[in-house]
Symmetry: C2
Subunit: 373 residues, 2 copies
């Protein structure tokens, strides 16, 4: 499907921009953060609470969902939105990243990837055609091309082979894509090699996708190299299509990427850190098990409007974590996602007002206030 | 505090009765089911969802809360209602049952109980005075006397000693009780020995409590013996005070006890079974991991109005359990508590209409429909 994407404002000092993606069920303001619901659930949260965080779109993993419960079951039950009771939008990752990072014995060829199911040991063969069909069945609003993701560090030769394969697979995904209510995005690979990234971006643009993701980053190369890759890669992506930086990240990484023209983000950080007892706040991170919060009657963040901060103290949250109570995981995840969504909203507003740089500087300054914790 | 308890209707064929307990924050219709929030949280549920199940009052454990986070912290933070963000009523168990069932090395004397903290190994000494002070600090609406609970089976001599101690401790709890905004209940012990139960009930009534619990049941004696104990014990408890059967139970046990004049119940069954993948429904129990639910598009219970049944299929719930996703525990717990609260509401209505016996018979018949699962 042709994607209805509008750029509404572009920052004068940076490449930061703010826009809107119109999908079947909802309008997505960009830059947008997409919480990760790998297995068809944002861990510990009901769709109702997820909606209350301001989340409009989530990322699920076609790779995990095809292994369990299987894409045919999801299709039989009316598609992923209905299956998981989520009224917002969904994007599915094709599984390139998962196949290369989560499984042990894999065999990659130009045709596809052979590996063992981590669930039951079955030998599986994933091809661009198969991953597209799986995503067609699952029925997300946006689906991703199947790509080859290389680790960091990685020899240029190996990264070059992966780029060629990724381009070939991207074309095969486009041909295989049958569910025209869904929008297909291409993925730029190329490691930290400028000529490879540019080659990949140029060729993908020629194939012509409705949106472009930058994959294979945030895999250990560090913020400096990541930002460098973004700087030159974004130049070769069309202005009238959304740009999605996959798997990123921490608030500062997100702001760095927004500054470089990125529109979409996904990351497990707010939920995973929440479950590990780490809360993001307007003055820095809080590790809730720290004994200093034992009798602390304050909410996690006095500036926060989330359900957790409106109803519970740090002392209670600490108690829940000390006592291994699941409600602690739920309340921290909810808060952290709300925090990320609020950050994105403030980011969008600052871009509209032409004040993104000030906003970012101010944000970084405030973060240091409790960074000693 | 004097307890405002009214009996509104008594069944003509049985001792079942329906009434109302007026507490500071809310009116509790009886017979009432109280979900268990041992550590100051109904496992996996936010207070908001708990309220949506129709829950008006919950049971928390003073024993666990004094070990962690400590009653002084709860008091410092404004009492347990505020600490856990629960706007309904709370009853705290004194810990008699926990001390005798959960800890290994204990030394009981007439003065109190000496044992090791299961959390950090500290030697602790709990007395009736100390457990009353702890409950005064925690600040629940209703608190329980500290009792000695004997196991099943148990020699009559040992049960007799425990009854004498329980009576002596009950008087000491009453003298020690300082927070007059709270109501103190006495607990009838006596194992399965008629003369001991009657002795205990008579003497407690003479001491004069605002409500009476029957403890030491549902510890392995089985439904037949439990009902027998209820039959003769309830006779010796005043009609104008609420009667609370501690730690019970399954729906059929609850209806048996309602029939014998019991007004209050608490049990971990809806939450624990929910976390174990077992749902209560109007046609019997469902074990959600059963492969027959793999593609089942129906809700857990088509007759149920809970959030889970209004939004999710059995297939999705099964997927969450297969994938070890916490949301599954939350949704099943929520459904089960709703089921129990709905059962209690139907029970109350049937008593008001003078149709309790028919309601019970009908309930038991419907239960068998999916009992093969």
């Amino acid at each position: 499907m042709l994607l209805d994407f509008k750029v509404l404002a572009v920052d004068k000092q940076t490449k930061a921009r703010c826009g809107e993606i119109q999908l079947a069920n909802c309008k997505i303001p960009t830059p947008v953060f997409m919480p990760v619901g790998t297995q068809g659930t944002i861990k510990t949260l009901t769709p109702e609470y997820l909606k209350e965080t301001g989340t409009k779109i989530i990322l699920c993993n076609a790779y995990h969902l095809c292994l369990r419960p299987g894409e045919k079951i999801i299709r039989h039950l009316g598609g992923l939105h209905k299956f998981m009771g989520w009224g917002g939008a969904i994007i599915t990752d094709s599984g390139g990243y998962q196949v290369f990072s989560l499984t042990g014995l894999i065999k990659v060829s130009d045709n596809g990837v052979e590996f063992q199911s981590p669930i039951d040991g079955t030998r599986l063969f994933l091809t661009p055609e198969r991953m597209t069909q799986i995503q067609n069945d699952i029925g997300a609003d946006i689906i991703m091309a199947f790509d080859e993701c290389v680790p960091y560090p990685c020899e240029q030769d190996r990264a070059s082979v992966a780029v060629k394969r990724t381009l070939n697979w991207a074309e095969r995904c486009l041909s295989a894509h049958k569910n025209k209510q869904q929008t297909l995005f291409g993925i730029v690979q190329g490691g930290v090699f400028k000529e490879l990234r540019i080659e990949c971006a140029r060729n993908l643009t020629e194939i012509n996708f409705e949106g472009y993701a930058i994959g294979g980053l945030s895999v250990g190369e560090g913020s400096f190299l990541m930002n460098e890759v973004l700087d030159y890669t974004v130049e070769y992506l069309p202005n009238d299509r959304p740009r999605y930086l996959m798997g990123v990240g921490f608030p500062t990484d997100i702001l760095d990427a927004v500054e470089r023209g990125i529109d979409m983000f996904d990351c497990v950080v707010p939920t995973r850190n929440g479950r590990n007892g780490c809360a993001f706040t307007s003055t820095g991170k809080i590790k809730i098990l720290n004994s200093q919060y034992k009798e602390d009657a304050k909410p996690l963040d006095e500036m926060c409007g989330c359900y957790t901060c409106q109803n519970f103290t740090r002392a209670y949250l600490r108690h829940l974590f000390m006592a291994n109570e699941i409600l602690g995981l739920t309340l921290m995840s909810l808060h952290n996602i709300y925090y990320f969504q609020n950050l994105m909203q403030e980011t969008r507003e600052s871009i509209k007002k032409g004040a993104f740089k000030d906003f970012k500087t101010n944000f970084l300054l405030k973060q240091s206030e409790t960074s000693k914790n």
